[in-house]
């Protein structure tokens, strides 16, 4: 396996690399049962989180992962930094380059920004979500979570529900699950379905058709109201009735024994109800726990300074 510097998306990973990250996440997860959850793997290394978009969960998950590997974790506070004063991304990166950090974990609202940063630093860049493009660690943790539940992912079916157009989670998670042999379908309001999606992904416009496809997993996306500057649906109530996991639909998926996933944070009453949150086959909390293990595995795998 060629050493890799950056994790920018799923598309550029080899099967071997995906396997490596998923396989090593298991032993890292086993550490969490111990009283001392820390290993010295990244002792003396520094991990910097550069979040241009607000995020509590992903950022904390990375910080916990890096701490458990004994790295020094530095948060680059955008709100109070020169970025607010108009400094360009690349000027910021040049500054960070002088600080000789080893890993930069970046989230940005513009797709491709982590790629741009990666081209301009020796540090390993981990994409923690860029625009609508990619969220590779989410995809890896989703794959890891499903592998804990399915003996063989091949042929299993996952239905991804919600705002596909603006979702980096849909793009990355659908890609990795297809790479692992799963069948993927999208269920989305017509106004939030991208114009051209890979033809291997089935497309549905309502729950009845989507459930008739017989999914094994229902993966709800967050309704990203903050990413919308156009009206894509008339109201949250109408979205909920037509595309949300209503109580009635919870009963259907319970009856069928489907797994339920969500990348968080959830909008209760929009894409999911209280009853959905309490559904016994929900994997939402496991996704969070596995996120730390997978991110530890990613940090362990990447090699700062490696070519490309």
């Amino acid at each position: 396996m060629t050493p890799r510097k950056d994790l920018l998306d799923i598309a550029s990973l080899t099967d071997e690399e995906i396997e490596f990250v998923l396989a090593n996440a298991g032993p890292f997860k086993d550490l969490f049962k111990r009283t001392v959850k820390k290993v010295p793997t990244l002792k003396g290394k520094s991990v910097l989180t550069l979040f241009y978009e607000p995020s509590t969960r992903t950022r904390s998950s990375f910080e916990v992962a890096a701490s458990r590997l004994s790295a020094d974790v530095i948060g680059f506070d955008i709100e109070s930094s020169s970025v607010v004063k108009g400094e360009s991304v690349l000027d910021t990166v040049e500054t960070l380059e002088s600080m000789k950090v080893d890993y930069i974990i970046v989230r940005h609202k513009k797709s491709g920004t982590p790629n741009l940063i990666a081209q301009n630093t020796r540090a390993s860049v981990i994409n923690a979500g860029d625009g609508w493009h990619a969220h590779p660690t989410q995809a890896l943790l989703d794959a890891f979570t499903l592998r804990e539940k399915f003996k063989d992912l091949r042929g299993a079916r996952v239905l991804i529900v919600g705002d596909i157009q603006h979702s980096r989670v849909a793009r990355s998670t659908s890609l990795i699950l297809r790479r692992l042999g799963m069948n993927v379908a999208y269920l989305s309001p017509g106004s939030m379905m991208p114009r051209e999606i890979p033809q291997e992904i089935a497309q549905f416009g309502n729950w009845d058709d989507a459930l008739a496809w017989r999914p094994d997993v229902v993966y709800l996306l967050r309704v990203q109201s903050e990413r919308m500057d156009e009206p894509f649906f008339p109201s949250a109530a109408e979205y909920h009735r037509n595309y949300g996991l209503t109580d009635a639909r919870v009963d259907i998926i319970r009856e069928r024994g489907l797994w339920l996933m969500h990348p968080g944070p959830v909008n209760r009453g929009v894409e999911i109800t209280d009853r959905g949150m309490n559904y016994e086959k929900s994997l939402i909390n496991q996704q969070v726990e596995n996120g730390i293990a997978v991110r530890m595995s990613v940090l362990y795998w990447l090699k700062p300074g490696a070519e490309g």
Partner: protein
């Protein structure tokens, strides 16, 4: 200078291209002063004459580009008229029309005069022309000083870079401009449909997670403007057509006798959405690179004569501006220095396009559209031609470029063919 200008030059045994023929004609071309004084299979016995061996070379009328952003005044960090002229010469182009999206906007006679005065200092100064804006500040609200700009020397009207969104404003502009006998050049785009799009809406915009500009945004814009042209009777020139459907609309309009012409760029023939790869902003332009199917359809359209002119839409931007995330980087690429070699490399050298078509679409027709005389290689004609060597090749390094900017997909690419000589009104402006 007098002595060298008076001395005759014999371009010996060149393959001469003309818009009237797909075949090249082997012959000698004799130049004295600013004129071609002889064209014949062989010319001998000329005294006091420099002989230039042109064996294996193409000798063709120099190019003329009606869609160029020279960035002066206001954006001289990207380009100025002088550097733009040198870039043009470097690519075998000896005249161009510069667009109005400068700062201040070229929207009144005063700015037209200032720009033309500055242009006169360039080596091809007498062949640099100006397009005035259709509306003040290119805001699409009030008409620009159309009559004044015409009398100051403007040859075309365009709000280039964006459409006149309000169809009533465009209609009035067309009605008004008709009597000043200037084409209206339209950037066709329904802005509300393109939204914040930064590339073609399709499978690549999905994969890269970038907001898309759907083909229908351009196509509906073309349909609208063509109908307005029909209604008002103005000469409408549709800029940089990029979709097969848009081309068909124009074809149908032409068949119905509507006064509409249109442009094609080399980049929209050669590249498509797939070339954007890892967010390469040198492939970001508006209208965007479309699909491989569009490439093929447009190329057929060019062969079949549906495009009147080839243009570059030369749009310089600084490295600082282009070195951003894809959505934030500005639209546009440079083209004057690479257009002809890229057309040769991708199409002429493979027998897909012939030299006659290149001369017609990138030299003769653009001049005619601007009501200028073409510069065919013929006895008594103006000596304004280039010598192109199909055997050499050229690497488009930063050092090679005369433009102030290097935002081109061809940067550091090696293409077959080389512009070896550029002759402008008898003077050799470039020899390599």
């Amino acid at each position: 200078m007098g002595a060298s200008r008076r001395m005759k030059r014999l371009y010996h045994q060149a393959q001469i291209a003309s818009e009237d023929s797909s075949q090249l004609q082997l012959g000698d071309v004799l130049v004295e002063g600013d004129r071609i004084i002889g064209v014949a299979p062989t010319i001998s016995g000329v005294s006091d004459c420099e002989v230039i061996d042109c064996q294996g070379r193409i000798l063709m009328p120099a190019m003329f580009d009606i869609h160029v952003h020279a960035r002066e005044p206001g954006h001289e960090d990207k380009e100025n008229i002088g550097s733009c002229a040198e870039a043009a010469i470097n690519g075998g182009v000896t005249g161009f029309v510069m667009m109005a999206n400068t700062s201040p906007t070229i929207d009144n006679a005063g700015v037209v005069r200032t720009v033309l005065e500055s242009a006169r200092r360039a080596r091809i100064g007498s062949s640099i022309y100006v397009a005035g804006a259709i509306t003040k500040g290119r805001k699409g609200e009030e008409l620009a000083g159309i009559a004044g700009m015409k009398s100051a020397g403007a040859v075309m009207l365009s709000d280039n870079g964006h459409a006149v969104d309000n169809p009533q404003v465009l209609r009035r502009a067309m009605e008004y401009a008709k009597h000043f006998d200037m084409p209206i050049a339209s950037h066709c785009e329904i802005k509300d449909l393109s939204g914040k799009g930064c590339m073609h809406e399709g499978k690549v915009s999905y994969a890269l997670g970038l907001p898309g500009m759907p083909s229908i945004s351009e196509e509906i814009g073309i349909s609208r403007d063509v109908r307005l042209a029909e209604y008002t009777g103005v000469h409408l020139n549709i800029q940089h057509v990029t979709t097969a459907e848009g081309m068909s609309t124009i074809k149908r309009a032409k068949d119905r006798g509507i006064r509409v012409t249109c442009e094609i760029t080399p980049q929209h023939l050669i590249f498509n959405q797939e070339h954007i790869g890892n967010y390469d902003t040198n492939y970001k332009m508006n209208p965007p690179l479309r699909t491989a199917e569009d490439n093929a359809a447009l190329l057929n359209g060019l062969k079949d004569g549906w495009f009147d002119v080839i243009v570059t839409d030369h749009s310089p931007h600084t490295p600082f501006e282009k070195n951003q995330d894809f959505a934030s980087a500005p639209f546009g690429i440079t083209g004057l220095e690479t257009a002809l070699p890229s057309l040769f490399h991708h199409f002429v050298s493979k027998g897909i396009l012939d030299w006659g078509l290149i001369v017609k679409r990138y030299s003769a027709e653009p001049r005619r559209m601007m009501k200028l005389a073409p510069v065919p290689v013929k006895e008594g004609g103006l000596a304004e031609f280039i010598v192109f060597n199909p055997e050499r090749s050229m690497t488009f390094t930063q050092d090679f470029m005369k433009s102030k900017s290097i935002n081109t997909p061809f940067i550091d690419q090696t293409l077959k063919g080389m512009v070896e000589r550029v002759i402008y009104r008898g003077e050799e402006l470039l020899v390599r």
